[in-house]
C-alpha cells in the first residue's frame, strides 16, 4: 500500500519526509559538520574543496556554492540543517527564509511586520496567492518585470 503523503499539493512548500531525507542525507550531514568552529573555517577557506570531501551530488554542491536555498531544499536539504550554512555566513533565519521568496531583505521584513504572508490563495496549488509557482520570484522588481505592477 502506498504511504499517505497528502502534503504534496501545498504551493511553495517541501515537506521533509523519508524520501527527501534519503535524497538529502549527505547534504544535511555536511551542514551538521559546520557546527564545529574549525570546520566552519576550513569551509570558508576553500568551499569547493571542503564540499568535495563529502559524497554529495554535483547539484547539491552547486546549490550550496550558489547559496540557493530553494535548490538545496529541492535536492533534499532541510532548513534546520541548511541554517548551519547561514550561521557560517553570519546570516539570520529571517534573511535565509526571505532569500527563498525573491523579495529583498527589507521587503520580507516589512511583510512580516505587517502581519506576515496571508494563507488566502496559498493553501493549495492552483489558487492565486503570492506563493504560487506562477508568481515567482516575488518582490517588487520581479513583479514589475512580469508587468504585474
Amino acid at each position: 500500500m502506498p504511504l499517505d503523503r497528502p502534503y504534496l499539493d501545498i504551493p511553495g512548500t517541501t515537506i521533509f519526509d523519508a524520501e527527501q531525507s534519503r535524497k538529502g542525507y549527505w547534504l544535511n550531514q555536511f551542514c551538521m559538520s559546520l557546527m564545529k568552529a574549525a570546520n566552519r573555517e576550513r569551509f570558508k577557506a576553500d568551499e569547493r574543496a571542503y564540499l568535495d570531501g563529502w559524497p554529495m551530488t554535483e547539484e547539491q554542491k552547486q546549490a550550496v556554492l550558489a547559496r540557493d536555498l530553494n535548490r538545496c531544499i529541492a535536492a533534499g536539504g532541510n532548513i534546520y540543517f541548511l541554517a548551519k550554512i547561514g550561521a557560517t555566513d553570519g546570516r539570520s533565519f529571517q534573511q535565509m527564509a526571505g532569500s527563498m521568496t525573491g523579495m529583498t531583505e527589507a521587503e520580507y521584513r516589512d511583510m512580516m511586520i505587517s502581519g506576515g504572508r496571508s494563507v488566502e490563495g496559498n493553501r493549495r496549488l492552483g489558487e492565486d496567492g503570492d506563493a504560487q509557482p506562477h508568481r515567482q520570484p516575488q518582490g517588487r522588481a520581479a513583479r514589475a518585470a512580469r508587468g504585474e505592477c
Partner: protein, 298 residues
C-alpha cells in the same frame, strides 16, 4: 506524591534568544514580544516549581540524520548549551533531574510509549529560549535557572512526526507517572514551539492569526477534540513549521481535567478545566507568530 500544578505554552523562536543575548530586548520591535512575558516572569517567581518538564524539539543540533528519536527524554544530571553554528547562547548550563526523569521513563514506557532515553545531549534554542522568556536574562557563570529541567525532545523535523492524539495521550501518561512519584515535588509541564510559521520555500513567512487564536481557544476548552486535528491542517493553515504545535498537546494532556483514572479510563467531570492565568499573542518575532499561555490546575 509529586503533582503537576501548572502548564506553560510558548513559542521558542531563536531570534528571541539572540535579541536578549545581544541586549536588543528594549528596542521597540522586541519590546512588543517581551512585554507579553512580563507577567509570566513575576508569575514564575511566585509559583516556582521544583522541576520543569520541558517539551521542545531539537533543530538538527543534538540529533542529526544519524538518529531520529520520535520522543526522547533526558535523564542526565546536566546538559550543555548547543553551538548551533553561531556559537552557544550565553546562558547557564541546564541541570537535570535524573531521578524523576528515570521514573517517568519507566512508567511511560510501561504504558506503551516507546521513549528514547538520553544521557548525553546538548540542548538548543528550543529549550533555552522558553527558559529565557520566563526567567529573563541570566549570567551564564554567576546565575542559575530557577530549578532542574527534564528535557523532552519530540521529532517534528522529519516526517512522519507523532500525531496530535499521540502527543495528548502521552501527556496523560506523563501526568500519571508524576503522580506516582513518591517525593512531594511541584512539577510544571511546558509545551513549546509554534505558532504559525514557515521557514522554507516561496511560501516562507506565512502567518495565520485567526487559526492560531482558534488553536489557543480550543487548547483551553476542548483539547481532546483539538488533538484529532490531522498534520495536513497544521501545515496548510499554519505553515510547515507550525507543526511544532503538536508539542503543546503533550503539556495540555498532563493537566488534571483530562487525567486518566487508575483504571485507565477518563476521570470524567471530577476535575474542573484549568484556569487561564495569562494569554498573549503577537506577530511577528522574526518569521513567526508568538503565542503564550499559562494554565493552572483549578
Amino acid at each position: 506524591m509529586a503533582r503537576i500544578t501548572a502548564s506553560v505554552y510558548t513559542s521558542h523562536v531563536p531570534a528571541i534568544g539572540a535579541a536578549l543575548d545581544l541586549g536588543k530586548d528594549h528596542e521597540p520591535y522586541w519590546q512588543k514580544v517581551f512585554a507579553g512575558y512580563e507577567f509570566s516572569r513575576q508569575w514564575l517567581k511566585a509559583s516556582k516549581p521544583d522541576v520543569i518538564f520541558l517539551v521542545y524539539n531539537d533543530h538538527a543540533n543534538a540529533f542529526s540524520l544519524e538518529l531520529i528519536p520520535t520522543f526522547a527524554i533526558g535523564t542526565a544530571a546536566a546538559y550543555a548549551i548547543a553551538d548551533e553554528g553561531w556559537g552557544p547562547r550565553p546562558v547557564p548550563e541546564v541541570k537535570g533531574h535524573p531521578e524523576l526523569a528515570s521514573h517517568i521513563a519507566h512508567s511511560v514506557i510501561q504504558d506503551d510509549f516507546d521513549l528514547t532515553i538520553v544521557n548525553r545531549m546538548d540542548v538548543d534554542h528550543g529549550l533555552t529560549v522558553p527558559l529565557s522568556l520566563m526567567c529573563g536574562r541570566l549570567d551564564p557563570a554567576r546565575d542559575a535557572w530557577p530549578c532542574p529541567v527534564i528535557p523532552f525532545a519530540v521529532n517534528v523535523v522529519q516526517y512522519p512526526v507523532p500525531s496530535g492524539r499521540r502527543c495528548f495521550e502521552l501527556g496523560r501518561a506523563i501526568r500519571k507517572a508524576v503522580e506516582n512519584y513518591d517525593q512531594p515535588l511541584n512539577v510544571q509541564v511546558w509545551g513549546t514551539g509554534g505558532m504559525s510559521h514557515q521557514l522554507q520555500g516561496p511560501r516562507a513567512g506565512l502567518i495565520n492569526a485567526a487559526w492560531d487564536n482558534r488553536f489557543l481557544d480550543r487548547l483551553v476548552a476542548e483539547p481532546a477534540a483539538l488533538a484529532a486535528t490531522p498534520h495536513i491542517e497544521y501545515v496548510r493553515e499554519a505553515g510547515s513549521e507550525g507543526i511544532e504545535l503538536v508539542m503543546w498537546l503533550i503539556a495540555r494532556g498532563a493537566m488534571s481535567d483530562v487525567a486518566l483514572s487508575a483504571a485507565g479510563g477518563a476521570t470524567g467531570t471530577q476535575a474542573r478545566a484549568p484556569r487561564v492565568v495569562h494569554r498573549f499573542y503577537h506577530v511577528p518575532a522574526s518569521n513567526t507568530a508568538v503565542g503564550h499561555l499559562i494554565l493552572e490546575s483549578a
